[in-house]
Symmetry: C2
Subunit: 437 residues, 2 copies
């Protein structure tokens, strides 16, 4: 029997409590499988007295996570505090510098300081594991670091934010407006009081930044990701997409292009029947296209106390088995600076919704502007009028266009010209179509 692995757990919220429960319930199983014990030797949280659903009897209590991080009694520092600065950053840096392995679920910390922390981990030859930071219980980090380590990744993409997927699924199934569903999500605890971080796509962008680095060997850089949220998706967009055979999903996608890596988070139209199109509610899903494996898709719980604890535990198990590698697969010194693909060169089809004055010549003006930019249209549908003919203000119609393959630049120029023509009654909506399988 090898020596026990001693953990210091900082942060005893839902994930920390879930982890203590898991380690207690699977103690014998893990000891037998690993040939060594995993012990929670020390813990730290804001309040010692707060009632919790798990026991930490026998563990040394710390008030200061930085002191816990460097305590000689621990081998692994488990950071479940949260936040990209303050106690989380200070304690993780202290732990790595003291030669402790670190396990964390903190995507914001890694998206911001991942490269510097990776350098520190490599310098001290310790693990910096963060499976729980991306897609909760789905082991996508392990996929990229290990299972697909020998593949050249061409594309990684998925549904990375459960809040957005819950809102879009509910809008779709119940034909509700965005604002109404958001309110319900907030009441149910699926969305924060300030929902911007989720619905604006920023949470998904943090996760995508980590996946991009792992998939393409680039330095983590969140600022290079183009982000668009779901705030402007209307019930009408979802219905129109459905009539065309598509679902609307918020997708994070990073892909190798001739000019660099294009990473973006935005709503897209995905064909009904595609596995990603049918991923509903708070479930997450990640797909990886590799040159040898083809497409590998994972679907599972993207958040929650128990799935996240499962991911944290798998990181601990890897350390117990002696697995240590550079946090982003390649040594941080050899990670390439992020070379962002030239914007606007994306070739694809687009869905466009225009609110148009219902006057003769409006449609002719739109199609002429599209033709001027060589954008050819696959379909044009004029949907319901919001006002009776002859009403004041002038009657408005909704026009839905689907383009053939074209570049984003061409579409933007055509839309700018249409806007300048002054016949629209609202801002144009433009959503990419991704013909996923």
């Amino acid at each position: 029997m090898k020596a026990p692995l001693h953990l210091g757990v900082a942060g005893l919220g839902t994930v920390g409590t879930g982890l203590l429960q898991l380690l207690a319930s699977r103690r014998e199983h893990l000891e037998q499988a690993l040939g060594r014990q995993i012990r929670v030797t020390a813990v730290c949280a804001r309040s010692r007295a707060k009632p919790r659903a798990a026991s930490f009897d026998g563990a040394i209590w710390f008030d200061d996570p930085v002191k816990l991080a460097v305590d000689p009694a621990i081998d692994v520092f488990v950071e479940l505090i949260g936040g990209d600065e303050g106690a989380a950053r200070a304690s993780v840096e202290a732990a790595l510098a003291a030669g402790k392995h670190v396990v964390t679920a903190n995507k914001a910390l890694l998206a911001k300081h991942g490269l510097a922390l990776a350098r520190l981990a490599e310098k001290h030859n310790v693990a910096l594991n963060f499976e729980a930071a991306v897609a909760g219980g789905i082991p996508v980090i392990k996929m990229l670091r290990e299972a697909l380590a020998a593949n050249e990744v061409r594309r990684v993409y998925g549904i990375l934010n459960g809040t957005c997927n819950f809102i879009l699924t509910k809008m779709q199934n119940e034909h509700l407006a965005f604002a109404d569903v958001l309110k319900e999500a907030q009441e149910k605890g699926y969305a924060e009081a300030d929902p911007t971080f989720d619905i604006g796509g920023f949470d998904a962008a943090h996760k995508l930044a980590l996946l991009t680095s792992l998939a393409f060997g680039t330095a983590v850089d969140c600022s290079q990701i183009r982000v668009e949220g779901i705030e402007n998706i209307t019930a009408g967009d979802i219905d129109a997409a459905s009539d065309l055979g598509y679902r609307i999903k918020l997708l994070g996608m990073a892909e190798q292009t001739p000019t660099g890596v294009e990473a973006r988070v935005n709503p897209v139209l995905v064909p009904k029947g595609a596995t990603l199109a049918e991923v509903a509610g708070v479930t997450n899903s990640v797909a990886i296209d590799g040159d040898f494996v083809g497409t590998l898709l994972l679907v599972g719980p993207g958040a929650g106390s128990k799935p996240t604890a499962s991911a944290v535990a798998s990181d601990i198990v890897d350390i117990a088995r002696g697995l240590v590698m550079p946090p982003f697969v390649h040594p941080s010194a050899s990670l390439k600076p992020y070379k962002r693909a030239e914007a606007g060169l994306h070739q694809g089809s687009f869905y466009i919704r225009l609110a148009v004055e219902d006057r003769p010549g409006a449609m002719a003006a739109i199609t002429r502007r599209m033709a001027d930019e060589s954008v050819s249209l696959e379909s044009i549908v004029q949907r319901q009028s919001r006002h009776q003919a002859g009403a004041t203000p002038p009657a408005a119609a909704t026009v839905i266009l689907v383009t053939h393959e074209t570049t984003e630049d061409q579409i933007r120029r055509a839309l700018d010209a249409i806007v300048r023509d002054g016949k629209l009654t609202g801002k144009p909506q433009m959503i990419r179509i991704e013909e996923l399988e």
Copy 2:
């Protein structure tokens, strides 16, 4: 830089060739990520002269895989010969006994001799990795051994045979008969000249035996799996299932029950819209239910030169990183003997198809027999008649029953009584319904 990892590759068919191509194309990438080279130091195949799509220049040639397996120049023996006895078994045993790590794609060998080989690997403290043996490019072994190592697995199930899924998908989409689609699959090379191993469910059973052992800590024992193939699925069954809202899939499933582990391979009805129901063609899919993670689903290529080479390469990468563990997670001495669940206790709904003489009283007799065994029916549909009324032989009707929750035993007793009543014109069809999400 650490010392290179020296491979001996035995078997240079499609997978072996794919592996050589992969290692050549990713040489620099792997060297940088692993901090050491992976070298193909020795190879062995039946014919040295046969034209191959990959070069093995610089590798020592062996005619005898057993000699290669024990050669002092290699660290890892990669067995891609195939077969559960003969050269494959002899060389793997020799390699393990000589203290070499072994990577193999050979499910038949492991399903038959897995426990003995695991003992040998543990005795010599070497790895025995077999990611490619189950579900091709899908890293389900890594999921069970590592990512979900801290979970108690409740159920593992999936589409494990691409040939069967190809046939069922094509029968479904084109309303074709089993025999016609099988013929096409054979012509395309998706099915063997003797297709029994695939369509009879035996290939899926081999894979399920390995998954069962990994998931439940039981000794590998293929003989304990109940197997039923797809030979008796008719186009009519698929159409009737579709009308009821289901797809028919060949599923391997192992689950913990109060009386032991129930492992079986059989056709089942899965609700349309469930992710597994929409997995089409030769694609495989595996789902794992764990107590902490919830349900994790993987979808990917189940066979083929390149996906299989990807899986073999990931096993090699793990060894290059120094990861060695008991092949079935728990030390083989602590694997429990397989305790098979009592048969017939499965609670669930069933689809039943009966070919019935179209005479007054036939339906009454059927429903009475069901009632005698306390089987309650959710729906009864009499589908098309195959003969005109008054024709000779007596007109036959197809009756489709869907039961409420009941046990398999009750259904079997009712069906036996119906058969004894002598009003059927063919063998009854009975298929489980699995209400998967």
